[in-house]
C-alpha cells in the first residue's frame, strides 16, 4: 500500500511540475522563431531568383575564362529580366537541347546582328554568316574547339536566358569581374 500511495504522490507531483512549465511562453517563442526562419527563407529565395544568385560552372567550353574543374560565379538576374543583355556578356541559359541543363556561354550577337562564325575550327577556316532573328540571341563558348553552342543548335530565344555572370567568387585566385571580351574568333 505504501508503494501505491508513493506512486500516486509522484504522479501528482509530476502533473504539478508539468503544469508549472510556462507552455504559453514556450509555444509563443517557438512560433516566433519558426516565423523568423520562414521569413529568412522567403527573403533568400526572392533574392536568389530575382536579384543575384550563385552558380557552379564546370566544363571546357568557356576556357580560358572559366576553369575546367569548376568556378563559383555570381549571376545577376535583373539584366536578363529587363532585356538589357549586351554582346560580350557571359550568360547562363537553359539548354535548348535539354531544359533540365543550364549552360554558360558568351553572347556574341543580339537580334538583328549579323554573326560570322567558323563552322568547324578542327577542319579549317570555313565560316558562315547569318542574321540573328528577332527575339533570339547567338551564344558561343570561349573555347570554340570544345563547345556545344549556337554553331550546333542555332540562335536561342532570349527567354531561355536565366542570368548574366558578372563576378567570380571562387577560386580566390580568380576573384574578380568577368570580362566583356568581345571575341571575333
Amino acid at each position: 500500500m505504501a508503494v501505491g500511495s508513493r506512486a500516486v504522490a509522484w504522479l501528482a507531483g509530476a502533473a504539478r511540475r508539468i503544469g508549472s512549465v510556462p507552455w504559453r511562453n514556450i509555444s509563443a517563442e517557438a512560433v516566433d522563431r519558426t516565423l523568423l526562419v520562414v521569413k529568412a527563407a522567403c527573403f533568400a529565395h526572392v533574392i536568389n531568383s530575382y536579384v543575384v544568385s550563385l552558380a557552379l560552372v564546370r566544363g571546357p567550353s568557356m576556357l580560358p575564362t572559366m576553369n575546367l574543374t569548376g568556378d563559383i560565379i555570381a549571376v545577376d538576374r535583373v539584366t536578363a529580366r529587363w532585356g538589357t543583355v549586351a554582346v560580350g556578356d557571359v550568360v547562363l541559359l537553359r539548354s535548348p537541347e535539354n531544359p533540365r541543363k543550364t549552360v554558360t556561354k558568351r553572347v556574341l550577337g543580339l537580334e538583328g546582328d549579323a554573326v560570322t562564325y567558323i563552322v568547324d575550327p578542327h577542319k579549317g577556316d570555313a565560316s558562315k554568316t547569318l542574321v540573328v532573328p528577332k527575339g533570339y540571341v547567338w551564344v558561343q563558348g570561349d573555347n570554340i574547339y570544345d563547345s556545344r553552342d549556337s554553331r550546333q543548335f542555332g540562335p536561342v530565344p532570349y527567354g531561355l536566358i536565366q542570368g548574366r555572370a558578372f563576378y567570380r567568387v571562387w577560386p580566390p585566385e580568380g576573384f574578380g569581374f568577368i570580362g566583356q571580351k568581345v571575341t571575333s574568333l
Binding site: R94, E97, N98, P99, G135, P157, I161
Partner: protein, 132 residues
C-alpha cells in the same frame, strides 16, 4: 484558345474580361509533360510575352504540319504547341517547335469567372502525331 478559354478582347491592361487560370509549376522540376497538356510559355520572338497553348508533340515525335504535307520530327528538348482555335492562333505553325526551357507552367483550372470554373482537360486532336 477558344472555346477552352475566353481571352480578354480589350488591350487595356488590368481588365478582367478574360478568363483567370491556375498554373501549376511543379512540372518544371522534371520538365515532364503529356500530350494534350495546356501550357504557358514565353514566346520565342518576344521574351516578355506569355502564350497559352496546347502541347501537341513532345521531343522525338513526328508531326504532320497542317496545311502543308510535310512531316517533321520534333528535335530533342523542343515541343510543338497549337491553339485550340486554329483559325486565329499564333503558334508552332508560325514559329516552329519551341524549346521546353521556355515553358513556365501547366494550366490546370479556370478559376474566374464563376460560371466557367472547372478543370482544364487534357485532350489530343487525333491523327496528328506518330511516335515513330
Amino acid at each position: 484558345m477558344h472555346p477552352t478559354f475566353t481571352g480578354s478582347s480589350t488591350s487595356f491592361p488590368g481588365s478582367l474580361k478574360g478568363d483567370v487560370i491556375l498554373v501549376e509549376r511543379f512540372c518544371l522540376q522534371k520538365y515532364k509533360f503529356s500530350h494534350g497538356d495546356v501550357i504557358i510559355f514565353r514566346t520565342p520572338t518576344n521574351q516578355k510575352q506569355l502564350f497559352v497553348k496546347r502541347l501537341i508533340a513532345l521531343p522525338g515525335d513526328w508531326i504532320q504540319v497542317p496545311e502543308s504535307s510535310e512531316i517533321l520530327q520534333i528535335p530533342e528538348g523542343h515541343c510543338w504547341v497549337e491553339g485550340d482555335n486554329p483559325a486565329s492562333s499564333l503558334d508552332s505553325r508560325s514559329f516552329g517547335p519551341i524549346p521546353l526551357g521556355l515553358v513556365q507552367g501547366r494550366v490546370t483550372h479556370v478559376i474566374w469567372p464563376p460560371q466557367r470554373i472547372g478543370q482544364v482537360e487534357r485532350k489530343m486532336p487525333t491523327g496528328r502525331i506518330s511516335p515513330y
